[in-house]
């Protein structure tokens, strides 16, 4: 953001030297947003940014996992089901449903063979 302001300041200086400063105030905004867009694109594609993004996401995930583990430990002492309990249950339901659907499909495709 700051960089985009200094670039537009420089650009305005050049336009002013050349006597080409636009009269319409909207043109100044359009010039600035284009510069800002370009700067973001350069930043977001840089190796440093990509690496930092990946590290930030990892750190955030690590924090969330640690927070969940802590809550999980606390909940274990209470008579309530934890997220882990629910996830285990969800997985079992998922696998059972998958088996049922596969069997239903087999039955639809070849009822005699399945029955036999």
């Amino acid at each position: 953001m700051t960089q985009s302001f200094s670039v537009i300041q420089e650009k305005l200086g050049q336009l002013s030297e050349a006597g080409e400063l636009p009269e319409d105030s909207k043109k100044y905004y359009q010039m600035w947003i284009k510069i800002l867009e370009g700067h973001y694109m350069t930043l977001f594609q840089s190796d440093e940014y990509v690496e930092t993004l990946a590290k930030t996401l990892d750190a955030l995930a690590e924090f969330s996992a640690a927070k969940n583990d802590l809550l999980q430990d606390m909940l274990n002492t209470l008579p309530v089901s934890t997220q882990k309990d629910m996830d285990d249950l969800y997985k079992e339901i998922y696998l059972l449903k998958k088996r049922i659907k596969a069997l239903e499909k087999k039955l639809d495709q070849n009822p005699k063979k399945v029955a036999g």
Binding site: G13, S16, E17, G19, L21, E23, D24, S25, K26, Y29, I33, L36, E37, Y40, M41, F44, Q45, V50, E51, L53, A54, L57, D58, A61, E62, S64, A65, N68, M86, D87, Y90, K91, I93, Y94, L95, K98, K101
Partner: protein, 397 residues
């Protein structure tokens, strides 16, 4: 160095003029914003003809005689919602296809919850999609139907068509990523660096809101500043405000993405680029693009920053079909469906392309004509045999 020539007077008078205009606009805008606004989206009538878990199959009520023998199933991405295809009256892909007489079905993936975190690409493609394709085939008593995919939904359609070529008559892919080995488009750059295992193991599903924030970050200058500046400049225009609200509703309506699907999509597609090399495996089967022998039309946007042309244009050269068309439209990812410019170039072109390919295909034609021949012979034999007794009866009578 001469004095810089700055038209200070002109600039100042323009600023005063702008300030007056802004005041007048704000005054009018209060009437618009405080009055009733029609900002409903996805208003074209449909009925849910099939539902499995949270996934629904919508069938749009025809508005004219159905002019196509083969119905069309549209598969949207798991990111955002299919309502984008019917965002506003007059700029609706659904409306245009219906007006051309297409018998239209669409999958509504619904809102995955934590219990859906284990659903894989196989579950979506060989599970939900296959069941719905079969439902339509059986309902219409057809061997094949037409399939159209949007973005990630297009990738699913490519996988499905390669695994089930006998069920698909014509394939339409729109802004569909199939080649992920490109640095054009920030998603391709970023996704190579993220660790999908860590994210999936930690969060279960990937939050739609977080993904949405990521999409806004792809171009913050335009999506977080310029868009709202544009809104303030036109907020006295009721139609503009209504359409702006419709678009905002769609953008921020972001379902979560099932974790296992995210994991595979990032690893096998963004990081290993397996699909375009025909090396991807889904449900234990290799997805060989050469199996796609049906006609294929592949639309993409020249200025698409999410799925750039480089991610789309290799597909037609890798499939087995001889009837392939690439259409690059001068627009972005969403512009293909909602921009006024593309209303005449997109859906009507799909309707015309399908119309040219709506005749029963050669194999089916041959099968049908052989069956007809057999039936004719049988009928002739039957006629002969039935004539005989009649003759006999006549004789005996």
């Amino acid at each position: 160095m001469g004095d810089p020539k700055i038209p200070v007077d002109l600039i100042l008078s323009k600023l005063v003029e702008d300030a007056d205009k802004a005041r007048a606009r704000a005054h009018k805008a209060s009437d618009v914003l405080l009055g009733p606004l029609d900002s409903d989206i996805a208003t074209t009538p449909y009925e849910v003809v099939y539902q499995e878990d949270r996934v629904k199959l919508k069938h749009y009520i025809p508005v004219t005689d159905i002019k196509y023998k083969t119905p069309l199933l549209v598969v949207y991405a798991l990111i955002n919602r299919e309502t984008m295809l019917d965002l506003q009256p007059g700029r609706s892909v659904v409306e245009t296809l219906l007006a051309h007489g297409v018998d239209l079905y669409m999958i509504d993936w619904g809102y995955p919850t934590r219990k859906d975190q284990f659903l894989t690409i196989d579950d979506h493609v060989n599970g939900y999609m296959d069941t719905m394709v079969d439902f339509i085939r059986h309902k219409h008593k057809l061997e094949k139907i037409n399939l159209m995919g949007i973005c990630m939904g297009g990738t699913f359609c490519v996988i499905y068509s390669a695994l089930n070529p006998a069920k698909i008559k014509n394939l339409i892919t729109t802004v569909t990523p199939t080649n992920f080995d490109t640095d054009k488009g920030l998603l391709h750059v970023w996704m190579k660096a993220v660790d999908p295992d860590r994210l999936t193991d930690t969060y279960g599903n990937i939050s739609g809101d977080i993904m949405n924030f990521g999409f806004l970050l792809l171009n913050p200058a335009r999506l977080m500043i310029d868009k709202y500046v544009g809104f303030f400049e036109h907020m006295d225009n009721k139609k503009f405000v209504e359409n702006f609200v419709r678009m905002e509703k769609w953008i921020f309506d972001s379902p979560d993405l099932p974790g296992e699907t995210f994991r595979q999509f990032i690893k096998d597609f963004y990081q290993k680029n397996l699909l375009i090399q025909s090396k991807l495996e889904v449900g234990g089967k290799r997805v060989d693009l050469k199996n796609i022998g049906m006609p294929l039309i592949n639309f993409y946007g020249k200025y698409d920053h999410l799925v750039p042309p480089e991610a789309c244009e290799l597909l037609t050269g890798r499939v087995g079909s001889q009837d392939t068309t690439d259409v690059c439209l001068e627009t972005g990812h969403i512009g293909i469906y909602v921009s006024s410019k593309c209303q005449a170039e997109f859906a009507p072109r799909i309707a015309a392309w399908l119309a040219e390919r709506d005749a029963p295909d050669q194999k089916a034609r041959k099968k049908k004509s052989a069956a007809a021949k057999k039936a004719t012979t049988k009928t002739a034999k039957k006629a002969k045999s039935s004539q005989r007794p009649r003759k006999h009866a006549q004789r005996s009578g």
